[in-house]
Symmetry: C2
Subunit: 367 residues, 2 copies
């Protein structure tokens, strides 16, 4: 194999491929990135057996071929190369020589024959979505997935497409995050659970440009994401997702409108008195025109008043401050509306068109 | 005690005082910052028994007094306060109430009576130096101090003042870093060894402005640094520093002039093949007009040619790449001059007026 490409193109492609490289894998070949030069394309492939990435590099092929190179070593080398043309060539002993400017690197690689590449799948029902939107809905829900494996379904997110509506749900035993977006076209009903890990990596690959389109294929056991030059294939989580529609009550006794940044600042200060593992709730005492926020711990106490607009009854209710902070940070509106039923019932944070809904369970407290 | 000050002033003073707070001290009082309001001044004091800081905060004293507050807690609270006026008041039970905007914090403090404050020392022979210069000479030498305590003297830096010249030296068993600066005035001979820890903290306190002056007092057992509003006192390291003058040979057989950034980039690439704890040297093969840099390890190999200007003999010599990188990074000149005698003798990197000298011992290698 002998290929020539620009350093910047190579760095970009390697950094994408790196996201699906296996770490401490049983088969060390999957800790490599496979470089393939064939049929006029240079492609980099990585596969950690849950997720697989194939990405193209612009460049010139002088001799076709392939080689698997240790991903970390390849990434470290290409990032440190001078900003010039890079040549990668292989010899008969699977040694790769990387030339750039006056620098010459020799590293040993592996034959690409044993490398598990992109699975062959039948692609049908392409769903199109802006990369910005996809990145956005993931980052505004992903913090709510369960961190432990005890219920594997909860370590992923539900993606449900129905007509032109897409709903994304993440939940653990204390909270729910829901995002709804409108797609440009209408599609048949699709419902898949995508692993949280895959989604986390996707947020790093997605361009964040509204005009860049991603094609998404929801297959029985896989999801495929197709971007310009890059394809990501991920296994799905099998099983039936929790039915959240029955949780979505619209009843409330108290509605509070509050400045999001002011509330965030206040909770941030209150959490000074919460130590890791400590379950101290912040207590909200909601009255006409203001909310008293209080925290009381062995370390000290804090009280602060925040101006609010209130409809309905007064209420006093306690929350894990972290869950409140996560939800408030995921919202970009200046003011947010909080809906309460009683001190034992979850709080809903949602906007009128329900493009987002965050549900947080309250915490008992002693007064 | 009751004091009122601006949040920004308080944050700045606390972050300075924090640098001398004891960590896991036997006497937990030294983990506090002492706030004193007396004689028209609000001062914060910290003392980890090696180093002591006293810094003033602008503000208003309504009731004189003092209180020692847990440094970490105080720092966390003040940083998170809204940008408004801060009031700190104490009650008879040594509880401090911090008020800012609509936020009220209560934390318990300690009586300041047991707090070890700034030692009382006779200040004489003030040496004046620009804060920028002091910060600069420390940061360009500190990486060369010994990291282990086996020879305590080497964990500090020698500061020697003679007339209007100040020489700063840091060394471990593999290398030496020397900086020389001209002071504005002339002073009597002074020679002190200042602990590396103190100097590290000083680089964070010093303003980095050429016009800000610092007063330095070299006393028998202490050094005092006096800045606008802040005084730092540090214990000195006792003993006799290594006599470096006899190492400073000016003989050489080979002189090389090289672009500093190009050499740094090249060594940086070579170190990809060096793993932690591995003692692989980089080998410089110096010939007319160019230097071949080579590294060869189990991970792979790299070769690169760099254009140089050479005077004298050809030489092949090996170095620990980290030491070379540290020295080259500390220099700001575009081109540097390297002087070699033979493959067993140290390499000197210095400019003509010797405002800096870096000496690095070579490493044996097998070819």
């Amino acid at each position: 194999m002998k290929i020539i490409c620009r350093k910047s193109d190579l760095v970009k492609a390697v950094s994408i491929a790196l996201r699906a490289v296996a770490v401490r894998s049983i088969s060390s070949i999957q800790e490599c990135i496979l470089i393939t030069a064939a049929h006029g394309y240079i492609t980099l492939t990585s596969n950690n057996l849950e997720m697989c990435i194939e990405t193209k590099v612009e460049g010139e092929i002088e001799v076709e071929g392939k080689i698997a190179l240790d991903a970390k070593m390849l990434s470290d080398i290409v990032r440190k190369l001078p900003e010039e043309e890079v040549t990668i060539r292989t010899d008969d002993h699977m040694v790769a020589t990387i030339l750039c400017g006056k620098a010459v690197f020799n590293i040993s690689g592996k034959d690409g024959e044993d490398f598990s590449g992109l699975p062959v799948l039948e692609k049908e029902d392409r769903i199109e979505i802006s990369q910005l939107t996809l990145k956005d809905v993931i980052s505004k829900t992903i913090f709510s997935i369960a961190q432990t494996d005890s219920n594997r379904i909860l370590t992923g997110e539900l993606f449900e497409i129905n007509g032109s509506g897409m709903k994304v749900v993440a939940l653990d035993s204390h909270r729910v995050a829901i995002q709804r977006v409108e797609l440009k076209e209408s599609y048949g009903h699709k419902k898949v659970i995508i692993p949280g890990k895959t989604l986390n990596e996707m947020t790093k690959i997605l361009s964040g440009e509204a005009d860049d389109i991603i094609g998404m294929y929801c297959l029985p056991n896989h999801v495929i994401f197709e971007m310009e030059g890059t394809t990501v294939v991920s296994a799905l989580i099998e099983g039936e997702y929790i039915d959240i529609d029955r949780m979505l009550s619209r009843d409330y006794e108290t509605k509070v409108k509050i400045n999001r940044q002011v509330m965030l600042g206040c909770i941030d200060r209150a959490t000074l008195f919460v130590r890791e593992g400590d379950k101290k709730p912040i207590i909200m005492d909601i009255q006409d025109g203001f909310m008293k926020l209080n925290i009381d711990s062995v370390l000290g106490s804090m009280d602060e008043d925040i101006d609010i607009e209130k409809e309905g009854r007064d209420i006093m209710i306690g929350f894990n401050p972290k869950f409140m902070v996560d939800a408030l940070r995921a919202i970009s509106d200046e003011d947010v509306s909080l809906y309460f039923l009683n001190p034992k019932a979850p709080c809903f944070i949602r906007n009128d068109k329900e493009s987002y809904t965050y549900i947080i369970l309250p915490v008992n407290f002693v007064r």
